[in-house]
Symmetry: C2
Subunit: 223 residues, 2 copies
């Protein structure tokens, strides 16, 4: 049995992801949570504040995990593979909150917008450093511009959030491995002159950061 607070969070994520933040009213959330709209304000400070806390939590989680991956693994190949797997897992397991985080930046204003933008930049920076290192060491042979490669790779991996379904034929782990290979090939990671794939790396636990059962009642997709 869910508490009122949990019901509100889940109803909000469902609605924000489906209709968008601006199109979702306080009354929509209350109706979907089975409470009165006035009761909402016992749990949240304001509609805006609620959105910010969702985005802030997810971005801090990504940054924390990415930092750990980069400090734990040693080669740029392993690091980028770890980042891709973690990122894709996050977007499948926390699908609704990641979708909101990725698509509602425009709904922010003032200092909150600045704060969230800085978190996004910080996360992106971690990826750029890994790609830059790989390029500088000659291990990523197809990188023309680390900044551009970062944007391409990150956007590509984020896209999973728009179509992934836990009911689909492919498991999230399978998808994350496929994406890891695509990224390694895009960057031009090589092993003895030949294209390197995920199974050439000694990686374990792609599910370490986001387990597939973790947020399973958060879900249900649209489109």
């Amino acid at each position: 049995m869910l508490s009122t607070g949990e019901k509100i969070v889940q109803a909000s994520l469902r609605l924000f992801a489906q209709k968008g933040f601006e199109a979702t009213s306080i009354r929509d959330i209350a109706l979907e949570s089975g409470i009165n709209s006035a009761t909402l304000y016992y749990y949240i400070k304001s509609k805006d504040d609620f959105l910010i806390s969702i985005m802030n939590d997810e971005l801090e989680g990504l940054i924390k995990n990415a930092s750990e991956i980069v400090s734990t693994l040693t080669t740029p190949e392993q690091q980028i593979a770890g980042l891709v797997q973690m990122h894709v897992m996050a977007h499948g397991v926390h699908q609704l909150s990641m979708l909101v985080t990725d698509t509602e930046f425009r709904a922010l204003h003032g200092e909150n917008k600045v704060k969230i933008r800085n978190l996004r930049k910080k996360y992106e920076q971690i990826w750029t450093e890994v790609i830059s290192n790989g390029e500088r060491e000659g291990r990523f042979q197809h990188v023309e511009d680390p900044k551009l490669s970062t944007l391409a790779v990150l956007t590509m991996c984020t896209g999973v959030v728009h179509w992934y379904s836990p009911k689909g034929k492919k498991s999230l782990v399978t998808i994350s491995e496929n994406y890891t290979n695509m990224v390694l090939h895009l960057l031009g990671a090589k092993i003895e002159g030949k294209a390197l794939s995920i199974h050439d790396l000694n990686l374990h636990a792609s599910t370490k950061y986001y387990s597939e059962t973790d947020g399973s009642d958060e879900q249900e997709m649209m489109m």
Copy 2:
């Protein structure tokens, strides 16, 4: 000097792209266009209808150009390179309307949502066929699943719309060529066993479909 109709279109695109469709009011558009909000309804049928026409026009343009590319060029390598260049150019030159087209799907309802979804599917299908052909003929050696590769590649190229600036250091043509190379590497296009790049293909006129001066007064970005 712009006509009232043109002023409305440009003001709307600017606002929809910056604040989002739902957050933009009829009065916002009127103010930005320098007219009264009632006057707007002499030009548009409804706010919803206006959004649909924007999305419809851009998607039909993409489909038309993609079809021409596929029927004009012969190898899967040339075809995918042509598609990537055209797609990236479109997202840079028609930046505001493409951004709206890419991000406001959730604002649609009923039969309009179905219609736009079908156009998106049709466009995606063209890409999938090219990638499937390349995979089947053994020319794209890293494709594990054509559907997944399509989504990855398409999402990646679309992402340019979020950060491209005509004032940036890299020209749109340069960016589109860099993206073309990344896609060729991601898919595993080869020439005599070695990774194939755009300059190995005999392509001309990446600017054929969207010229860089074309929509230059449409622009000015945010974020």
